[in-house]
C-alpha cells in the first residue's frame, strides 16, 4: 500500500487496511488513511457509507474487525486498557447530537473531563470550564442551563466546549454543522477555524456539508462503496474525472458550494 510522504512529522492517525463488519453487514473494507499533524481533514460520503463508524474507530470506540489503527503514534490493537485511557485523554470527540449529560448543567458537562482526569480544585475547574464556554461563544449564564434547555446551535457549541476541555491534540467532529441553520453553520465553521488557530489541534471532521468542507478542510477523503474513493484538497477533487467523485462534488449543491467558497 502507498502512503504519501508526510512532511516533517509522523501522521497523527494512521489507518491501515481497516475493515469493519457488524454481523454479515460489511461497513467498510481495506481502508488506508493518514491524518497529518496539524491539518483539518474532512471525511465525506453518502449517508450510510461508514463515515461515522470510521471516525468512531479512530476515536477508539468500537474495535475494528480487521486492520490496524495508530493514534498519536500508538497502535491501538496492542494497547492495554490503561494505554487506551491515556490516548483517550489526548483526544476530544464532538458527537453528532452533542451527547451532553442531561442531568448536569452545561458548565458541569464541560467540567466532567477536567474533574475526571486532573486533581484541580472545584473553583479552578469551573473557571477553566467557563473559559472554554467563552471560547466557543457561550456566556457564563448559558453555563447554568441544562442541555434540554439549549437550542441546536448552542448544544453543539457546548459539546465542542466539552470536547476541548483538556486541550486535546486530536479533535474529532462528527457532523458539527448538521441540523444548524446556514448562519449558525457558518458561525460554527468560523469557530472551528478560530479554535484551530488558538489551540492548534489536529482536526478530523465528518460531514456532508460541502460549504463546510470548502471553508474549513485542508484535505478531504471521499468514502463510498466501503472504501476510500478519492483524497486530496477540494480543488484537486473537483478537477477529478472519477465518476463517483464527480457525482458527489459536481451536483448542483457541490457547484453552489464551490461558487460561494
Amino acid at each position: 500500500m502507498q502512503h504519501e510522504a508526510t512532511v516533517g512529522a509522523e501522521p497523527v492517525v494512521r489507518v491501515t487496511d481497516l475493515g469493519m463488519r457488524f454481523g454479515t453487514k460489511v461497513v467498510h473494507e481495506h481502508i488506508d488513511l493518514d491524518v497529518r499533524q496539524g491539518e483539518i481533514l474532512g471525511i465525506v460520503g453518502g449517508s450510510g457509507c461508514g463515515k461515522t463508524t470510521l471516525l468512531r474507530e479512530m476515536a477508539l470506540l468500537p474495535k475494528p474487525s480487521a486492520g490496524s489503527v495508530q493514534v498519536l503514534g500508538r497502535d491501538i490493537a496492542g494497547l492495554s486498557d490503561a494505554g487506551v485511557a491515556q490516548v483517550r485523554r489526548r483526544v476530544g470527540v464532538l458527537f453528532q447530537n452533542g451527547a451532553l449529560f442531561g442531568g448536569l448543567n452545561v458548565l458541569h458537562n464541560v467540567g466532567v473531563p477536567l474533574r475526571e482526569h486532573t486533581r484541580l480544585s472545584d473553583p479552578l475547574v469551573d473557571r477553566i470550564a467557563r473559559l472554554k464556554l467563552s471560547l466557543v461563544g457561550l456566556s457564563a449564564a448559558d453555563g447554568l442551563l441544562y442541555p434540554n434547555q439549549l437550542s441546536g446551535g448552542m448544544r453543539k457549541r457546548a459539546a465542542l466546549a466539552r470536547a476541548i476541555a483538556l486541550d486535546p491534540e486530536l479533535l474529532f467532529l462528527d457532523e458539527p454543522t448538521s441540523g444548524l441553520d446556514p448562519v449558525s453553520a457558518d458561525a460554527f465553521d468560523a469557530l472551528v477555524l478560530d479554535l484551530k488557530q488558538a489551540l492548534d489541534p489536529t482536526v478530523v471532521l465528518v460531514t456532508h456539508d460541502l460549504d463546510s468542507l470548502w471553508r474549513v478542510a485542508d484535505r478531504v477523503v471521499l468514502l463510498g462503496e466501503g472504501r476510500v474513493l478519492a483524497e486530496g484538497s477540494m480543488q484537486e477533487l473537483t478537477s477529478s474525472r472519477d465518476p463517483a467523485v464527480v457525482r458527489f462534488l459536481q451536483g448542483p449543491r457541490g457547484r453552489a458550494a464551490q461558487a460561494s467558497a
Binding site: F101, G102, G103, L114, H117, T118, R119, L120, S121, L124, R127, I128, R130, L131, K132, S134, L135, S139, A140, A141, L144, Y146, P147, N148, L166, D167, A198, L199, D200
Partner: protein, 355 residues
C-alpha cells in the same frame, strides 16, 4: 521565575504553590522562559495571577513568553473580559424551599387528578366506540405483565405459604390445634397476603416498566410524534396497559392463592403430618367464597392504582435520562404506598360491613 508544564494535568500542584506564594512590593517580573508547555488552563491561571497582582498595585512584566503561549494568553484575556461577571445560581432558604416543595406537591396532586379524569374520558369514548380499543396492545401487555410474572409471583407466594405454615404450626402444635394451620394459611393468603404480595411484585416489575417506557418515549419525542400523527398517546400507551393490568392482576392473585396454599400444604405434611387430603378438606371449610372474593376483588383496584401511577409518572419525565430514573423510583414507591394504604382502607370497610 516559572518552570515546568503549565497544562491542566499539572495545574493542581501549581495551584497550591501559587496559593502559598508571597510577592514583594513594587515592580515584578514573571519569567516564563523555563516553562515547557502551556495550555489554556495554564494560561488562565497565569492571566488570573497577573490581574490579581495588577489590582494589588504591582508593576508586572512578562518575560520569555513563547509566541504560542503569548497567543493563548491574549485569547484568555479577551475571553475573560467578554465573560464579565458570573451569575450564581440563587441560594434558597429553608422556608422558601419548604414553600416551593409544598406547592409542587399540590400541583402534582392536581395533575394526577387531571390525569385520572382524562383516562376516564378516554375510556368513555372507547365504550361508545368499542372498535377503537387496541386489543393487540392489550394482548401484548397481558403477556408481558401477566404471563411473564407467573414465575416470580408463584415462587414468592409458595415460599410465603411455607413460612406461615411453619411459624403458625410450631405455635399451634403446643395447643394440639395443628389442623387449624390450614385455616391460618388459607385465610391469611386468600384475604390479605396474596393480593398484597402480588400487587407489590407487579408494582416493582410492571409499574416501573410503564414509567420507564413512557418516560423514554417522552425524552425521544416519540410521544409528540404520536400526537402529531393524530394518535392520542393516552389511547395507545395508557388504556391498553391499564386494561391489561386490570385483567392480569386478579388472575395473578388467584395463582398466588393457589401457590401459597400449596406451600402451606407441603410444609404441614412435612412438619405436622397433616395429609394433603385432610388439609384440602379443612381449607374448603375454613375459606368461604366471600373471603376468596374479598381478596381477588381488591386486585383490579390495585391494578388501576399501579397502572395509573406508573403511566402518570412516565408522562412527568422531562428532558433527560436522569429524570427517567427519578420518575421510575417515585412511581414504584408511590404505587406500593398507595396499594398498602388502600388495602388498610379495605380492611376497615370490610370489617364494618361484617364481611
Amino acid at each position: 521565575m516559572c518552570s515546568g508544564y503549565w497544562t491542566v494535568r499539572h495545574l493542581a500542584e501549581l495551584e497550591s504553590q501559587l496559593a502559598h506564594l508571597r510577592f514583594p512590593a513594587g515592580a515584578l517580573e514573571i519569567d516564563l522562559a523555563a516553562v515547557g508547555r502551556m495550555d489554556t488552563g495554564g494560561a488562565l491561571v497565569l492571566q488570573e495571577l497577573i490581574s490579581t497582582l495588577r489590582q494589588a498595585q504591582h508593576e508586572v512584566q512578562i518575560l520569555g513568553l513563547s509566541p504560542k503561549a503569548a497567543g493563548l494568553l491574549e485569547l484568555v484575556g479577551r475571553s475573560l473580559e467578554q465573560g464579565g461577571i458570573t451569575p450564581v445560581a440563587p441560594q434558597r432558604m429553608l422556608l422558601e424551599r419548604l414553600g416551593r416543595g409544598s406547592v409542587a406537591h399540590v400541583h402534582a396532586g392536581i395533575g394526577m387528578l387531571g390525569f385520572i379524569g382524562e383516562i376516564g374520558l378516554a375510556w368513555m369514548r372507547q365504550l361508545l366506540h368499542p372498535g377503537r380499543v387496541r386489543w393487540r396492545e392489550v394482548a401484548d401487555n397481558l403477556v408481558e405483565a401477566g404471563h411473564r410474572a407467573l414465575g416470580i409471583v408463584g415462587l414468592l407466594s409458595f415460599l410465603l405459604g411455607i413460612v406461615i405454615a411453619y411459624q403458625g404450626g410450631v405455635q399451634m402444635r403446643q395447643y394440639g390445634a395443628s389442623l387449624f394451620v390450614a385455616d391460618l394459611v388459607g385465610l391469611s393468603m386468600v384475604r390479605e397476603l396474596a393480593p398484597i404480595i402480588t400487587a407489590i411484585i407487579v408494582a416493582g416489575r410492571t409499574g416501573s416498566a410503564y414509567t420507564a417506557q413512557i418516560g423514554t418515549m417522552k425524552v425521544t419525542e416519540e410521544v409528540d410524534a404520536l400526537r402529531s400523527m393524530g394518535i392520542p398517546p393516552l389511547e395507545l400507551l395508557v388504556l391498553p396497559k391499564l386494561l391489561a393490568l386490570i385483567i392480569a392482576l386478579p388472575l395473578l392473585t388467584v395463582f398466588a392463592d393457589i401457590m401459597g396454599i400449596l406451600g402451606g400444604m407441603v410444609m404441614s405434611s412435612v412438619q405436622l403430618d397433616i395429609s394433603f387430603s385432610t388439609f384440602i378438606q379443612r381449607i374448603g371449610i375454613a375459606v368461604s367464597l366471600d373471603s376468596f372474593l374479598v381478596g381477588v376483588g381488591k386486585a383490579p383496584v390495585f391494578a388501576a392504582i399501579i397502572a395509573t401511577i406508573g403511566c402518570y409518572q412516565g408522562f412527568q419525565v422531562v428532558g433527560s435520562a436522569e429524570s427517567v430514573g427519578r420518575r421510575t423510583t417515585i412511581s414504584v414507591v408511590q404505587a406500593i404506598l398507595a396499594v398498602i394504604v388502600i388495602d388498610a382502607a379495605f380492611s376497615v370497610a370490610f370489617s364494618r360491613l361484617g364481611i
